[in-house]
Symmetry: C2
């Protein structure tokens, strides 16, 4: 039988009680973590979101009825206890914040009984994901998840606090939007008032925030829900949270500056990490050349080396063939891994193939200075020496080479570098290496579409000094775009936007738009630009991802209260579900059975 | 031709420049509000979100080229000006914050030219709503709308600031939810991965926030987007914003207390209004009896009086008939309106009929003490005198009476009271009268469903002292529910929730649920309640409505950046719209043509 709260007032959360309160009477409420009967005493670990407090029931203090009640307590019962705080009679429990005290119960109410939960409420649960997510309301009781969500709440508040101080306005943009044909797949919402017509859930507030700049709001931000009906991948959520901003009357330095200060502030206040600013800025080309990635993890070296010049004209056809195709040969040096067994190397080769490599050439330098290599026989001693020197190879090192189109070589070696670092435990989770990747290519050639595509979006500003080459060498034009990278993860990105008619028109031309097709897709934005548009730029962060990094979560589901699983369903509510025929009739929709 | 921002840095927003800066060089950027040529000088009113600043172009200062450029400026051009601040040469403009200064331009860049906008950018626009909303990006430039949205941004930040200090966690709940059969109509989102199945957009995070209490988060809040596909009404938006909270281990007083302090804080900080707390609490019955409304506007009197006892047995069949049907006769006294012309009274009668009245009885007290009345002839002099006395009628007053079922009488007189107050200009917009309406009926009889329905929702806690009557007199049971009312508007509402199995089970029984049907609808919440649920309570505010009150907006559209119109469409983006056949195929949906 559940008792009522009538007349009861909680005085403290569990771990708000401390040795300062010894001798005081407190009222605490929470869940029974566990009960132990010890001689004539009953001990309860009482849990709330703040942590654990020990409560002791002694019949002399709590009375006969109270003591009997305490005897019925089981895990997850919700109780309220009033009692005196005292020094803990037994040894101090160093693992608990309240380990030096306990509360001697004088009154107890059972606010709610509880059935035995399907899995224990404890940190680092070994319970299967499916069960945890079905009973998410119990899973959410686990202290580690609670810590994650409490930190998340703090982080988004810190963001807002900083942004408000910097003169940003939080402005809500619609969730019921217009569907646009380009980009990822939209979630659609059928209209009842306009049957046969649909809203789309926003993939980002991009167009709205640019409109707000046209409207003179000057500095906008929003913690915005975004939606993408993308193909399934383990750690992707159909809805995700973006910290979105846009600024008027700025150039790239202004945006980077305010964001560096934002990051410094929230990482310090949320998790006590000192971010040194200004952050490093690395042009995209350098990031690819050195790390094979536009989101380099700079916590360790093992950088890529372009050895195309060195192997040019060597006898190894795989190398020279790649060069002839306009590609490159590059390598990394896995220091001290020269004695890696063949089996493990084979695994790396397989790994590389997963990233598009046709193979992986390796060379290990034995302690006696001789080489063991998959391709040594095709090359002269001098050629091998030059190759080893190019990678600063020393006795005991393992050199790995990929030869292919640049894109594949970068991709393969970038991934390999990370894989080896993981295996060798080179990734310190407590080191936070931020950097900006800048000067992205404006355009990307698409074989599929047989045309250049915008790497970011069609409103991204080209770099002034490159723009004159847009006709002769479109691929060489760099953009005023930037990504913020943390430990190999892209936390966010953005760009300066085009605000000049002539550049925008040319950009659409390069992207193969006609005047009509540009207008069809971006009509209201282009219209807005006609009436006086300020120079503007913006950036958006993936909030889920940022919080994941802060709490070292393995899964995005550990930082979202009610996540969906791989097939975009919710195991707890069983959404999506069937709806009434009447609802579909109102929408004038019919389900087509396959 | 648009010039670039290269090397330019804004030093101030327009009205951040003040007489303190006289002699200093500043760089300001914004939109040209207007240009005047005056002799050898050109004057520009430069506008940004902060306000207006006067810029003067003198060829001696800005040079020939700059002066010529200034001569080409037209409304809504975006420019950057660098120049010296000086005391205004002409008379001070008292209407402007910067009315005592001006900037003598030394450099100008035209950042963007502008076509002539379809309507002038000015406060209190007389432009048709349809045009304003089509060009919403221009409408949003109007200083009054900008002030609204800036205040809105501030209000939601103040809310968050307060809530964080009070130990609330902001936790995001899903937008892609499960459709539930009861309540208002859901917006549906077809699932591509599970064809034939649908998500629903949330009407509120109600179930999620109760689950979070089960999960031990103790204090939750969220500024949440909610959605209802309701029938069309002028000032209703398909998506709206709710400030939503839930608290564990509390009773009604705790919830009211924290919310009173919240309201006091935000009204003071946002608009400088002192809210005296604790607020008045008025039981629902009293609100209906005195004001004919569960959201009484207490800025003026003209209260309802129940005269059923007085007219019992009188000769006026309309009165006695209503009493015989179990109804009542009530009146209001429109002080000093005794000389209201018959035509105007007839209008009030028509107005009353619009609220369900069959008619409206009136009696005006002439200055000589005689009566003019629609029903005097049916009553004795003594009866009339008693009636007048019951309403404290004096010479020059107009008494209006309704006789019907209570619900209709309240409805009619409540509306009439407001209507007359509006006409007499009794509603001071700068007076903020808050009150709690409490002790709502738990259940409401539905003729349509032929059963009792939950007035709030099925989880609302009954008042302990009434609960024993639930079988004998269900209608008399009051709930631990509360609404916060401001000047006749319901700003928000909530309730203490049932956390006891036995009460919840009984409640479902009273509402006509079977065990199965209750489980079908609320399964996961009921499951969650099995594993230990804390006493909890919550409240939600309508943010749009609250901000409307703060800025005295006439329309909800004036406090939402991108609102929809009555048919739930967006005139700017033309959402909702058609989508590709391919998209529908992927969803296995077909549109049924009518």
């Amino acid at each position: 039988m559940a008792e009522s709260m009538n007349g009861l007032h909680r005085s403290h959360r569990c771990t708000e009680v401390s040795s300062q309160d010894i001798g005081e009477t407190v009222t605490v409420m929470g869940w029974v973590q566990k009960r132990r009967n010890l001689g004539a005493l009953i001990f309860i670990d009482l849990r709330d979101r703040s942590g654990i407090l020990q409560v002791v029931f002694d019949e002399n203090s709590v009375g006969k009825e109270g003591f009997e009640k305490a005897g019925t307590l089981r895990s997850e019962y919700v109780i309220a206890v009033t009692g005196k705080v005292q020094q803990r009679a037994a040894a101090v429990n160093e693992n608990l914040k309240t380990g030096d005290i306990e509360v001697i119960a004088e009154q107890i109410r059972i606010l709610s009984e509880a059935e035995t939960p399907p899995f224990p409420i404890e940190e680092n649960s070994q319970t299967k994901d499916e069960v945890r997510l079905k009973y998410r309301y119990l899973d959410l009781r686990r202290p580690d998840i609670q810590k994650n969500l409490m930190l998340r709440s703090k982080v988004i508040y810190l963001m807002r606090e900083f942004m408000m101080k910097e003169g940003f306005l939080e402005i809500e943009t619609p969730i019921l939007c217009k569907s646009t044909p380009e980009g990822a797949r939209d979630y659609l919402v059928p209209s009842r008032v306009h049957p046969g017509n649909f809203y789309a859930l926003p993939q980002s507030p991009q167009l709205y925030k640019q409109l707000l700049m046209c409207s003179g709001y000057d500095r906008y931000f929003q913690i915005a829900k975004c939606f993408r009906d993308e193909d399934l991948r383990a750690d992707r959520q159909p809805e995700f949270t973006q910290a979105d901003m846009e600024l008027s009357f700025v150039d790239i330095d202004d945006v980077l500056d305010v964001n560096e200060r934002l990051l410094k502030y929230i990482f310090k206040e949320a998790i006590g990490v000192d971010v040194q600013i200004p952050l490093q800025r690395m042009p995209w080309q350098e990031a690819m050349d050195r790390f094979g990635s536009d989101k380099p993890d700079t916590r360790f070296g093992m950088e890529l080396h372009d050895v195309s010049e060195v192997v040019k004209g060597c006898g190894f056809g795989v190398f020279t063939g790649a060069l002839e195709q306009g590609g490159s040969v590059r390598g990394i040096n896995a220091k001290g891994q020269g004695s890696m067994p063949r089996k493990k190397i084979d695994k790396l080769v397989e790994f590389a193939k997963g990233y598009g490599a046709k193979g992986l050439a390796y060379l290990s330098i034995n302690e006696d200075g001789t080489y063991k290599s998959s391709f040594a026989k095709f090359m002269t001693e001098d050629e091998l020496k030059a190759l080893v020197d190019a990678l600063d190879g020393e006795a005991g090192d393992l050199l790995l080479f990929a030869a292919d189109k640049n894109k594949i070589v970068w991709n393969v070696l970038g991934a390999l570098r990370l894989e080896i670092a993981k295996e060798l435990d080179l990734l310190d989770p407590n080191q936070y290496n931020f950097l900006w990747v800048t000067e992205f290519p404006l355009l990307e050639w698409s074989d599929e579409e047989n045309r250049y595509m915008a790497m970011h979006h069609p409103f991204t500003m080209p770099m002034e000094e490159d723009w004159e080459n847009v006709d002769t060498d479109p691929g060489s034009v760099r953009a005023k775009a930037y990504d913020i990278v943390l430990n190999g993860t892209e936390l966010g990105g953005g760009s300066v936007r085009i605000h000049q008619d002539d550049i925008q028109e040319k950009m659409f031309e390069v992207l193969g738009f006609t005047k009509e097709s540009a207008h069809e897709q971006f009509g209201f934005l282009l219209d807005a630009f006609k009436y006086g548009v300020p120079p503007h730029a913006g950036l958006a962060y993936g909030v889920d991802r940022m919080v994941m990094h802060m709490v070292h979560a393995d899964s995005i589901r550990d930082v979202i209260a009610f996540p969906k699983v791989k097939d975009a369903s919710c195991l707890m509510t069983e959404a999506p579900g069937k709806v009434d025929e009447k609802q579909l009739e109102e929408l004038q929709l019919k389900i087509e059975e396959e």
